[in-house]
Amino acid sequence: MITRHLSSLSDTGSRVFLGVLLAGALYVSVCNLLLPETHALHVPTHVVALLGKYLCYAILAVALDLVWGYCGILSLGHAAFFGLGGYAMGMYLMRQIGDRGVYANPHLPDFMVFLNWKELPWFWHGFDFFPFALLMVVLVPGVLALGFGWLAFRSRVTGVYLSIITQAMTYALLLAFFRNEMGFGGNNGLTDFKDILGFDIQANSTRVALFVITVAALALTYTVARIMVTSTYGKVLVAIRDAESRTRFLGYRVENYKLLAFVISACMAGIAGALYVPQVGIINPSEFQPANSIEAVIWVAVGGRGTLTGAALGAVTINFLKTTFTSGFLAPYWLFVLGGTFILSTLFLPKGIVGTASTLWHRKRSEAAPAGEVAPTPQAAE
């Protein structure tokens, strides 16, 4: 069975993708840590953090592609799961500050002292303990997705209606987390982190370690998603996307299939958020903005819906453009660039970058092969 699962990574796309990740992680860590700052090939630490941020978005994009690309669930609320994972990690990082805050209170984070709170709210207990925080990173988004998805899929809310209620979900969280009384730092969110697991969060080596962990998390997320979509389970997901009632009348319990994909996707988004926070240094309610979720959909669409690798590529590409176009004299034009990219890719690359490239690649191969011969499908070695 292991061989069967590994064989789902034996295609060209997976090999290139995982190869690029491994090479990138090696290159960045060697060139940051071992080369002197004056060296031409030195990768500055702020670039490491920026790349780490892009890869967090790539994890979110792969998670979204799993539900949207393969099962047709257009979630416009994945930023909610990302944000919740981020807050869980942020709460751990806040507890690590200890008495080094502005108010030097050993028991309470600064914002609670400022609000005149006397003791730590119950839901902050346990976050001093790293494994507990890690558990919450996947558990909180997962449980929310389970409850939300159970109600929505059982009531057969589909299509644009589902998109609207996922959007409402993330907006509701945005409003809730803005409130000071919620106990998550209100408008300002959680920031001013000092260290993680005892390592200085600003140090080069910590930055590089976080980057490498993010690369590993992306590779793992991709592997899990790839195993899922290449199994029979994935075929049923695509069947649901193409003809939901047909699948139902064949005897499949469509809501269970959707729910599993939705929950796993939410957990992946939570992990992405948790890795994002220490690298960016802040988490606040703006992460729940509906626009963030919509932007994630654009990454997937541009990169190639239903390809997984395309989702990751789209996230990195669009965010690289965003960094370029939101600084300097180009800053006023970013939204035009984003909208333009989306429109152009819809018009000229309807399957996205990776989808179009793989169609061309297959066409070229079938032209090269003698007419009538079907390309042999690789058999899993037992």
């Binding site: 069975m1 069967r4 199994s231 695509v238 009348f249 469509v254 299939y257």
Partner: protein
Amino acid sequence: MNTLINAPTQSKSVLYLDGVSVSFDGFRALNSLSLFLEPGEMRAIIGPNGAGKTTMMDVITGKTRPDQGEVIFDDHVDLTKLNESEIAELGIGRKFQKPTVFESHTVADNVRLALAGERTTWSALFGARDLITDNEIDTVLERVRLKSHCGRLAGDLSHGQKQWLEISMLLAQDPKLLLVDEPVAGMTDAETEDTASLLRDIAKTHSVVVVEHDMRFVRALDVKVTCLHEGSVLSEGSIDAVSTDDRVVEVYLGR
């Protein structure tokens, strides 16, 4: 408690509808409809548009809940209490009016997903269905003459081929009862004849309900015919008896 019901008649039934009514916003789609299907029987259902043919299929397969009436499968199972996938598992397969196949899967994978067996998410993830051999798939596809197309995407098939693929998916489910909604819509004459002989062949081992407008096709099936009108049975009997029934001529066939 309603799941066990003493059969009101002596003979066994595979499908028993009694006094079934459904209304949508005041419109009575089914009006105290009763129908009785013997095991192994094939029945053709005809009737004008809006007579309730598709609604009847919806009620049997759990898509629509009847306002009143009984729907009993295999003498003892109350279908009004179950949902679509539970009813499918009992052994009722349905072909839709518009051919509905999984367009981005290959023909072989369409059949693979339809073949009887475990359907839980867990078994799908961990590969129970991978044990299905190409042989099983080929056997099913041979019956509808699509074996040579097994590697093609279902979306690339012609309209008639999609209809057959969908019928082959029903066969793969190995149901006791097949509900077939307008199987020859959009088919050429030759394809229609082939479909009629295919269904006659299937009817040797299964109970079948066929809804169809094409009277030549219905005649070719050569089975008992039920004509629906305004949600209830207007006439029932052999094709010759029904097609000469004055009321059927009046509302459906035209003079």
